[in-house]
Symmetry: C2
Subunit: 186 residues, 2 copies
Amino acid sequence: MVERLYSFIGGSHGAWIVTGQTTITGEPLTNIQRIEIVNGPHSSDGTTTEQWCLQGVTSNERYVTRDEKRLLSESQPTLGRPNATCAALIPIRKNPSWWTMAQDERREILEANSLHIKTGMQYLPAIARRLHHCRDLTGLQPFDFLTWFEFAPQHEGDFEQLLLKLRATQEWSFIDREIDIRLVRS
Amino acid sequence: MVERLYSFIGGSHGAWIVTGQTTITGEPLTNIQRIEIVNGPHSSDGTTTEQWCLQGVTSNERYVTRDEKRLLSESQPTLGRPNATCAALIPIRKNPSWWTMAQDERREILEANSLHIKTGMQYLPAIARRLHHCRDLTGLQPFDFLTWFEFAPQHEGDFEQLLLKLRATQEWSFIDREIDIRLVRS
């Protein structure tokens, strides 16, 4: 298995307790109580209470320029900070119109029009983030991206603000399925 | 399984007969007599003479701009033309330096410095091409890309010229494994 593979197992086990699960766009996902995150594949052992398993791989940046990458690397925190006891898993899918666009068209919408990278940077280092790509995995996935966020309880308001800004962008008009799952570390 | 998945099964069965197999860079791949191409997954049935199976998915363009995409769509031929009885499968892997670069750095090397897209266009519509991405599949793959080319026998010289030009570029200095497999339709 590729080392960059992560499995997000939704059910009643795992280190992260679900505090809220909201369908923003499209078909809902079965409600769950906890999420377990595994760096690797996951095969159900039949005894678990797993409801679903979402998989994705971390990969090379698709839009970030060298200047943005330098700025990000200066302020991007790592996951697993002791005080970052709040988390969010936001799986999204983009529609076919997005995927048939050329690279420069997608970059223009993502950054020139929607300021996706710049907006995210405003919330560093408070909000840690890891992006997982699902679209080119071998098995058909229900989402294109899984983004995992971690932050301290006092930054929950900042996180809401970040999501409000992103969801108001042109880029978000291409998203046809989005679930917002909030969690706290057990 | 994702519909865009293709399996290239190397062994002694299949519609394409190997006429040459050359290791350009890095570790060789076991020599084979034929290749079978399956649009989908492949599980060995134990009775085949399969030596290896390389998998990849077609995906969205990673570098092509809207103008390049329009030009390509005007002259790109489809696979399976009756007179295109020659083919090549060229699996390549790029080194970690390539993958840690930002998007604009990779685009600059690929097109501004190496004219990868422009050079390919010079050989259209003679040479048909389908690119498969391997790096973000669930299972670890030995290559990052599999490119499949089809052309008529009278364009074999053009194809050699295309490869010579690409292999002389800055982009190719990031390739640490490349195998060149030539085939004819059986």
